[in-house]
Structure formats: structure tokens, C-alpha cells
Amino acid sequence: MGAIFDNFGSGVIPLEGYIFVSLIMFFAGIYGFLSRKSLLMILISIEMILNSADINFAAFNRYLYPDQMEGFFFALFTIAISACETAVAIAIVINIYRNLNNVEVDSLHELQEPEPSETKVDL
Amino acid sequence: MNFLSIFVIIPLITLLALYAARNRKQINLIAATGATLLLILSGILTYLYLHERAMGNDSLMLFRADILWYAPFNIYYSVGVDGVSVAMLILTSIIMFTGVFASWRIDPLPKEFFLWFFLLSSGVYGFFITIDLFSMFMFYEIALIPMYLLIGIWGTGRKEYSAMKLTLMLMGGSALLLVSILGIYYFSGGDTMNLLEIAQRHIPVEVQRYLFPLTFMGFGVLGALFPFHTWSPDGHASAPTAVSMLHAGVLMKLGGYGAFRVAIYLMPEAAHEQAWIFLILTGISVIYGAFSAVVQTDLKYINAYSSVSHCGLVLFAILMMNETAMTGAVMQMLSHGLMTALFFALIGMIYGRTHTRLITEMGGLMKIMPFLGVSYVIAGLASLGLPGLSGFVAEMTIFVGAFQESDTLHRILTIVAVTSIVITAVYILRVVGKILYGKVQNPQHETLSDATWWERISVVTLIIAIVALGSLPLWISDMIQNSIMPIVGKLMAAL
């Protein structure tokens, strides 16, 4: 952590800086994923997690292997995948909203078994 | 392309053809064609087999073929038949044939019914032709799973419960089998799953002591070994006619066949050591099933308990481990398969008319439906061991064989088993007297019709088979005995 403060104002952003940002983004995403009730917010949280990974890709590539491009390609690839994923997810969310008028995760238990007390199977 | 594989392929082709069928007429036609082809094929096989043997081919298994399909574990699809498997294949074909005709008017979903039915049969055929432990296990599972759906969907009464119970208990048995098959594989050298090759090896006796009971119990569950038989009464009572026929007629034989082919053949030392435990259990099965059948009121329960008794006799005879008794065991498998199939077919037909299976609610049916009545009497007589019908030959071969073992335990158990012929007579005649003779109990039964043509085909085929086996037993008992001799030789060598 010390490197950030050592080089502060020198014009060079150290690797730790990028990792620090991405760490914050990652845990913010995790927090959002765990605590939010709306499917849309959960989706945004997942995007944040993915983006934090992208930042790491780019940063590691730049600092560790400056003469290669794999990290950037991977970042782009991830962005493309996450775009697709989001499209699918949003489609599902919209369908859920159309059917249930609701996008809260807690209210989605159509496929869940009823509570144990009601299901005494005859054996 | 091996000749024997056709037995597995025909059901699969029939499956595809059924999938394309559009109405009930086509479905029935396809199913009947498939079953008939299988019947003809088993006839050809028998002829070829006897011909080969007559030509002096005395290798243990005929028509051998191997196809590697999973190299890391040396799993082959290997096929081959001896006299015992040929007998079982004939039995399966006859019961498939009659089963199709017995379910001519199955409702609902006839197409799906036959799909599962033929899938089941391909598993059974595969089990009997294969001599690779793993393939055997796989076919066993193929035969097991469709049973759940067949009972659960097309059954009667508490069908979901029965289907679940039957499947779980049999799966439990197959779990034991899987353990023992892997054990046999590793301790026999770990480089082959082939029965014939393992039989050449020696599995350490300490290992056999653990593997033998696992294997025997695993197959014993399917062979209705006391106290693992309780799936049988409920399962048979709930199953639709053709499934009861196939299950009691053929699937229960998988247990006896496997116990004999895998458990005893591969682990003779442990078999000799532990036979007495299982002999006592099977002895109990024989007498216990018979006594239980005496007081039942549901026709299918009576027959299910009678199956427990008769299949107990199969395992009992196998454990006697001499040539005569083992031949008797295979004969009993054939005989029990045929007559129990006949029973279940007839019970299904009677139930389809009277809509009850309780013997207290029926009476005087002989007068109303003479064909079914007479057939029921014939089935009953076969079951109680009347000379000229199949039961007699099988039971007498077992008793004579069992009597060759002269120590006290064997003697006592044999005499106990022999008494079952009286108890069998009691419950068979009780049923016949109650439902067929006497006065008509329910006036609505007066107008019921006798058997239709497809029912007649089914019943007559079975009766012919029973009479043929019972009055001319020599050729088939010779065929079986010749195949059993090498196995008994190995058992004797292990003493």
C-alpha cells in the first residue's frame, strides 16, 4: 500500500492503485449481490464484479508483460461475454416481471417445494 | 455383428418403430411383430446351440464376441451363451410375446407403455447374453429403471408407493452388487471384467468372505430372498398385467441367474463356507411364502407370495451346489417364469372383467368364463406340481438333488422345503374353489364375457410351453445339465 503514497503526484500510477480500485469494485459488487433484493440491482452487482476482473486483467498485463496483449484481449472477451449474459439475464428478468409483476428475489419461489410441514409423504 | 446381439437390437429397433407409430393398431402391430421376431429368434438360437453342441463344440460359452468399449477399466461388451442362458432367453421371449398380447388394450398411453416395455426387455436380454461383469450390471440397471415408470404410471392401487418401494429396494440390491463387482474386479487382478477369465483366477478367500454375501444378497433381493422380498407382494399387486408377467416371470430370474453365475461361480470357497446361512434363509422363504399365501385374499398377493416360495426354492437349489439340484434350479426358473406369467395374465384378465381381485367377492366364474377358468386351473395345477406340467419336473429335480446332500442341516431343510408341496396345494385349491367354483357371488358377473382372441393367444402360448416343458423335459434338462457340469466341477475343486 505504501507504494501509492510514495509515488503520489509523481505521474506514475502504481499497480497497487489499480488493484485497490478493483478490490473496492469487487467487494462492492459482492455486497450488492448479497444484500440487494431486486434482480436488476443484483445484475448490476454482477457486472461490477466482472468489471473489477477486467481492470485486473488490463493492469496485470500492462505491468507484468508490457510487450504482450493477452490480458487486454481477455478483458475485451469478458466484456463481450458479460454483454451477452446481461442480455439473456435482462430478458429473463423482463419475463419474470411480465409474469409476476415483481422482480424481487424473495418472491420467486414458484418452483420451490412447499414448506416441510405440509408435505408428509405417505410411506 | 454377432448373432446374439440381435436380441438386444430387435427391442431397440422396435422402440424406434413404435416412436413413429400413429394409432393403436399400428402400435399393437409393431409390438407384436417385435415380440414374434424375438420368439422366432430364440427358437433359431436354441436350434443353433443344440446343433453346435451336437457337432462337438464343448467350449463353455458359444457364439462368443468381444467389443472393447472402455479401455481404462477393461470393460468389454462380451457376449456368449451356455445352456442356462439359452433356457433363460427362451423364457424371456415367450413371456415378451405373451405379455404383448396380454396388454393389447392397455390404457392410457399405449405407445409409451410399449416403449418402456421393450426397453426393459432389451435390458433383460442383454443381461442374459453378456458375460462381462460391467455390461451385466449395466443391463441389469436398464431392466430396473423402466419398471418404476411402468408401475408408477400404468399400475393400480397404491402404485406410486409400490413403484417407489420396488425401485428403491432393487436399487439397494444393485448398490451391493456394484461394490462386489468392483471388488471382484480389483481382487482378481484388476485387468478383466470377463466372467470366464475371472473364473480362471483365484480371488483370495479372505476377500471372498466379504464379497460373496454382498453379491448373493444383491441378487437375492431380486430373487425374493427372505427378508428382502417385501417389494414383491406390493410391487406385483400394483403392476399392470404385462409388467407383473415380465417381472415375476423374468426379472426375478435375473436374481437366481446372477447368484449362480456370479456369486457361486466366481467365489466357490466362500460359497461353500457361507451356504448354510443362505440355505436357512431360502428354506424360510419357501415355507414362509407358502404359509403367507394361505391367508391372503387378493389374488395378486397370493401369487406374489407363491412366487416368494417358488423363487426361494430356486435359490435353495442353487445353494445345494450339486449338479442335479442346480439343474432343478434352472428348470424351476423356467417353470416358475411360465406359470407365474400365466397366473398374472389370467388375474389381469379376470380383474379387467370383474374389477376386483378379492377372492371373497368372486365365485362361480368357471361357468361364466370357462376358458379363463380352465386356464386358471391349469396354472394352479402347474404351480402345485402336477406331473405332466412344468412344476413337477422342476421341483422333483430339486428335491432329488437336495436329498443327495446328506448332512443333518441339508436334510432338515430339504424336508421342510418338500412340505411346501402340501401347503401349495392348500392355497391353490382354496383360490380355485372360491373364485371358480361354487355359486356366482355377484349377479353382475353373470354377463361377463370370456377371453378375447388376443387373450387366448397369450394364454394358450403359455399353456403349451408349460405342458411341453412338463411332459418332455429331457432335452432341456440335458441342455442345462451339460452347461452346469463345468460349474459344479469348479465348485467341487474348491472344496
Binding site: 443484483i42 | 370357462p370 402336477l386 406331473p387 438333488g401 436329498f403 385349491l429 367354483y437
Partner: protein
């Protein structure tokens, strides 16, 4: 003599054809076909007898001829069941008896069963029975005999239950089958023991009594008796079941629910003597190795004979009287076998037993057919419904009288000669037993004439159903007359010339003392019956009152049936089967269901972990990852 095979094949064929055709053929066609085939069989049997007795005699002894033999099933290198035809004096004699009586019954039934529902089925069953019984007597080995034994039991079951809508008939048929089946269990175990030690089923080897064959029996004992004694005693139990020896006799009186001609054929003349035939067949083994079992047979026979005679006195159903008389007469045959010696003139009992079997078959068939004719006329089995029938049924009456005289042992009727030989043999063996048997013979005369008088004499016949009884048609009276003639003359056959214990010549001579005593006793019995029953009077009722207890006990057949009922209903059903079934449903099945319930309970308990909420899962995953990471980093 391969043509003897047709004696078996033809009835079997007849059974199959008639059975398959069933109602497709008119009754008259079925009846004619059945009777015609049996006529051929009878002719073949007579020809066989003629050829056998005229050619098989070598140096004064009859040889055993194996006319046909083929392996039916092979058990191991020693044991195999053969199907074959063995001709020796007793089997040839039985062929003649069976085919004669069977033919008579076939002819008789044409009229008796006319118009019955299931007429075709009836003839099919008769053919089946003829096949099985003929096969039984010509068996070459004990297992073949056992097979036909079972088949005979089956045809008996089917014919007793012929009127299957009548509950009594169904119950009777069931009882007959199960009781004899129980006895056959003994037979089977006996065969198994015998074959285990001797390594053969073959009669030829067994009855040669070669010491080597029986050598492996030596020293093998069980509960104080030798294994061979056990085997032979168990085999006798089989014979006792079929031949209705006490206490396995209970099925026979009930078997009278079947059609009367069937009773004549199966339950009087042929099947019930199968047990006697069995003992006679194995006689050399009994006499050589296990004389104690043979003596046991004699005592069982004597007791049964007396016991059944006492019961016969008080029965009122005419067929029941005849049934008990049959039991009693079979007892005579058993006694004769039991007391017999072996070879030459010592084999009196053996010869007498076979002779009595022969004559008894004829006159008992005659009695039953006569009874059938009476029942046909008055439509009742009860003596109380009869009386004074002599002027309505002249042919029946005279033939019936001949048979009664024969069974009572009055010369010159056939029964006298055979019974006299039995009494002579018994006296020779043990005077005590001889006295008992003579007394029983007296009782026989008494109850037969009680029967005769109460049917044909006494009160005037009063019709209850509005029509006068009339003599039966020719098809029925013809067999009566034929059998009557045989009964009169059969006694003069030099029977010892044909059948004896060792196949040699046995010279019959009548001991004047014993003959006189037996005739006097028989006449006393007849006289008593004449006094009590000839004219309707109170004497019989007075006697019955005097012996009230024993009268009632005998009337209820000494409560043996109740005992059996108690054993089956109370012991087997209530005490064994029901608990077993309960145990199965609740303990064995309960354990399985219990396992399932426990599994379900456990899974319900741990089900909470799988909440179905994705955020819970994600949280647990995260936590797990952190913990694992911490472990990896810090440890």
C-alpha cells in the same frame, strides 16, 4: 408286446381330444368316442392278459416283462425317471380290473349322466383317469408310479368336484386332494430316502432285494428305527392316504359327492386300491428287510377295517355306507398283505389280498352302480326316502343282492373265496387278529343287509316327488348284469395259478374249519339284519337307543372330521398362516418402511440448508472461499 403302449396312449388321446372339443361336440358323440376308445383299451388289456399268462411262464414262475421303457428325465448318473410298461402278474391283473370296470362305467354313464351339463367334460375326465390309473399299475419305477399317482389324485379331484356349483362337492374335492397330497408327501420323502441309499428308482432292481443294493442302508438309523424302515413306512403313508387307511380315511366318504359312476370306478374299484397295489408291488422289500413295517400295516389295516365297519352300520346315506364298506374291505386287503409270508404256499396273504382286490373291484363296482340306479330312480341318497323298492327295480334288486351276498362272504359268490383266504392267512399269523377280522366280516354282512333291506324291503315306497320309480334303461342295467355274472363266477377262477407272491404257482385250498366259521358268522350277521330291518319294526330303534353313545359317536364318524377341521382351521389358518402373514406385513415390511421413514425424517431435518435463496448460497460460497483462503495463507 409293444402294443401295450396303446393301452396308455388311447385314453390320453381321448382325454386330449374330448377336452379340446368340449362343447363343440354333441354329448352323444363325446360319449360314444370315449366309450369306443375304452372298448379298444379293454380288448387290448384282455389280449395282453391272455398273451402274458400264456407265454410268460418260465419254469413255473411268471417273468417280469418290460414291454417298453424310455428315459424321461435324467437326474444324475444313477437316478433317472423312466416311462415304461412293466408287465407282471399283478399289473396285468390290474389292467384287466381297471379296463373292465372303466368300460362298465363308461357304458353306464351314457344313460346315467344323460342331459347333465358338462357331459363331454365328464367323459374327458374319465379318460384321463383311465390313462393315469393304467399308467400307475404298469409303472416300471417308483417315480413313474408317483407321477401317475398324482395324476390319479387329480382326476379324482376333478371328478369329485364335477358338480362344481355345489359347495359340498367343491369342499369334498378339495379335501380329497389335500388329504391325499399330505399322504403323498410321505410317499415322496420315502422315495427320496429309498433312492438316496439304493441309487435307483427301478422296481426291477428294488424288488430283487439284492443285498448289495440295500447295503448302504446298513447302520443308518433315525430315532431308533433304521432308515429303510422309515422309508418303507413313509411310502406306506402314501398308500394309506390313497387307500383311505385310518386316520387318512376322511376324504373318502366325502368323495361320494361326485357322480355315482365315478364313485364306482375311482372310489370303490380302482384308485382306492392303489395303496394296496403299492404295498404289493414293494412287497419283497417289506418282507425281506422291514417285516416290522409290514406288521404295522397289518394292524393299521385291521383297525381301519373294524373302525369303518362300525361306522357303516349307522350311516343313512347309502353311498356313505358303501364308502365305509370300501374302507373296511381295503383294510382286509392290507391285513392280508401285512400277515403274508413270501414265496410258495407261505404267500397266502399276498395271493388272498390280490384276489380280494379283484373280486372286491367287481362286486363293489356293482354295488355302486346299483346304488346309482336306485338314486336315478328315487332322486335321493337317503335310506329314509327308500324302502320297498324291490318291485320297481327288479334287475337292480337282484344284482344288488348278488353283490351283497358276495361281500358278506356267502359261497359260492366270489367274495367268499377271497375273504376266506384272507381269514385263513390272518388266523395263521395271529389268532387274535383273525378273530377281529372274522368279527368284522360278520359286521360287514350285517350292515350290507341292513342296507339291502332298507332299500328294497320294509315299508311300502311312498313317493315324495309325485312320480313312480322305474327300472333304469338298458345302458345301465347291462353293466349291472355283466358285473353280477362276474361276481357269481369270479370265485372259481384258479387265482393262485396267476398271481402269487413270487410269481410261482399257488394252490388254493379251502380250510373247512375257517370256511365254516366265516360262513356262520356271515349268516349270523345277515340273520340279525333280517330280524331288525326286513320288516319295519321298532327293534332297530330300540337297539340304537340302547347303545346311544356309541351310536351317536359312530353316526358322527367318531368326530375325526371335526378333529381335522380343528387342525386346518384353528391351527394352520389361525395359528400359523395368519401370524406369518401379519409378521410379514408388519415386521418385515415394517422394517423396510421404517428405513424409508427414517431417511425421510433425516432429509426433512437437513432440508433447511437448501433454502432455494441464491443470495444465501452466494454468501456461503463467499464465506467458504474466505475461510479456505485464510487457511491457505495463514497456516
Amino acid at each position: 408286446m409293444e402294443y401295450t403302449l396303446y393301452i396308455l396312449i388311447l385314453p390320453l388321446l381321448s382325454f386330449v381330444v374330448l377336452g379340446l372339443m368340449d362343447t363343440k361336440w354333441k354329448p352323444v358323440v363325446a360319449g360314444t368316442v370315449g366309450t369306443a376308445i375304452l372298448t379298444i383299451v379293454a380288448a387290448l388289456s384282455y389280449y395282453t392278459a391272455w398273451e402274458y399268462f400264456s407265454t410268460a411262464n418260465l419254469n413255473g414262475t411268471y417273468q417280469k416283462i418290460i414291454a417298453f421303457n424310455t428315459v424321461w428325465v435324467q437326474f444324475n448318473e444313477h437316478l433317472h425317471i423312466d416311462m415304461g410298461i412293466l408287465l407282471d402278474p399283478i399289473s396285468v391283473m390290474m389292467l384287466v380290473v381297471i379296463s373292465t370296470v372303466s368300460l362298465m362305467v363308461h357304458i353306464y354313464s351314457l344313460a346315467y349322466m344323460k342331459g347333465e351339463r358338462g357331459f363331454e367334460r365328464y367323459y374327458a375326465f374319465l379318460s384321463l383317469f383311465s390313462f393315469a390309473m393304467l399308467g400307475l399299475v404298469v409303472s416300471t419305477n417308483i417315480f413313474q408310479m408317483y407321477m401317475f399317482w398324482e395324476m390319479v389324485g387329480l382326476s379324482s379331484y376333478l371328478l369329485i368336484g364335477f358338480y362344481y356349483t355345489k359347495p359340498e362337492a367343491v369342499a369334498a374335492s378339495k379335501k380329497a386332494f389335500i388329504v391325499t397330497r399330505f399322504a403323498d408327501l410321505g410317499f415322496l420323502i420315502g422315495i427320496l430316502i429309498l433312492s438316496y441309499y439304493t441309487k435307483t428308482f427301478d422296481f426291477g432292481i428294488l424288488t430283487s432285494c439284492d443285498a448289495n443294493v440295500f447295503a448302504s442302508f446298513s447302520g443308518v438309523t433315525f430315532m431308533g428305527a433304521s432308515a429303510l424302515s422309515w422309508a418303507m413306512a413313509l411310502i406306506f403313508i402314501g398308500g394309506a392316504g390313497k387307500s383311505a387307511m385310518f386316520p387318512l380315511h376322511i376324504w373318502l366318504p366325502d368323495a361320494m359327492e361326485g357322480p355315482t359312476p365315478v364313485s364306482a370306478l375311482i372310489h370303490a374299484a380302482t384308485m382306492v386300491v392303489a395303496g394296496v397295489f403299492l404295498v404289493a408291488r414293494l412287497f419283497p422289500i417289506y418282507i425281506t428287510f422291514t417285516p416290522e413295517v409290514l406288521h404295522g400295516i397289518a394292524y393299521v389295516g385291521a383297525f381301519t377295517s373294524l373302525f369303518a365297519a362300525v361306522i357303516a352300520i349307522v350311516q343313512t346315506d347309502i353311498k356313505r355306507v358303501l364308502a365305509f364298506s370300501t374302507i373296511s374291505q381295503i383294510g382286509f386287503m392290507m391285513v392280508a398283505l401285512g400277515v403274508s409270508g413270501y414265496g410258495g404256499q407261505a404267500g397266502t396273504g399276498y395271493m388272498a389280498s390280490m384276489f380280494h382286490l379283484f373280486t372286491h373291484a367287481m362286486f363293489k363296482a356293482l354295488l355302486f352302480l346299483g346304488a346309482g340306479s336306485i338314486i336315478h330312480a328315487v332322486h335321493s341318497n337317503e335310506m329314509t326316502q327308500m324302502g320297498g323298492l324291490k318291485k320297481f327295480l327288479p334287475v337292480t334288486r337282484w344284482t344288488f343282492l348278488i353283490a351283497c351276498l358276495a361281500i358278506a362272504g356267502i359261497p359260492p359268490f366270489s367274495g367268499f373265496f377271497s375273504k376266506d383266504e384272507i381269514l385263513a392267512a390272518t388266523m395263521h399269523f395271529s389268532p387274535g387278529l383273525g378273530v377281529i377280522m372274522t368279527f368284522t366280516a360278520g359286521l360287514t354282512a350285517f350292515y350290507m343287509f341292513r342296507l339291502y333291506y332298507r332299500i328294497f324291503h320294509g315299508k311300502k315306497y311312498q313317493t315324495t316327488n309325485g312320480h313312480t320309480p322305474h327300472e333304469s334303461p338298458v345302458a345301465m342295467t347291462l353293466p349291472l348284469v355283466f358285473l353280477g355274472v362276474v361276481t357269481i363266477f369270479a370265485g372259481f377262477i384258479p387265482f393262485g395259478k396267476f398271481v402269487s407272491s413270487d410269481g410261482g404257482y399257488y394252490h388254493i385250498h379251502i380250510d373247512p374249519t375257517i370256511a365254516t366259521i366265516s360262513v356262520v358268522v356271515a349268516l349270523a350277521g345277515i340273520g340279525l339284519a333280517t330280524w331288525l330291518y326286513r320288516k319295519e319294526n321298532d327293534a332297530s330303534a330300540a337297539v340304537a337307543r340302547k347303545f346311544n353313545t356309541i351310536y351317536r359317536a359312530a353316526y358322527h364318524r367318531f368326530y375325526i372330521d371335526e378333529l381335522y377341521l380343528f387342525i386346518t382351521k384353528k391351527i394352520i389358518f389361525k395359528r400359523i398362516s395368519s401370524p406369518v402373514a401379519w409378521f410379514d406385513r408388519h415386521i418385515v415390511d415394517g422394517t423396510m418402511n421404517g428405513l424409508a421413514s427414517v431417511t425421510q425424517w433425516v432429509s426433512l431435518k437437513i432440508k433447511g440448508f437448501q433454502s432455494g435463496k441464491i443470495q444465501h448460497y452466494a454468501f456461503v460460497i463467499l464465506l467458504g472461499t474466505l475461510i479456505i483462503a485464510a487457511i491457505v495463507i495463514f497456516i
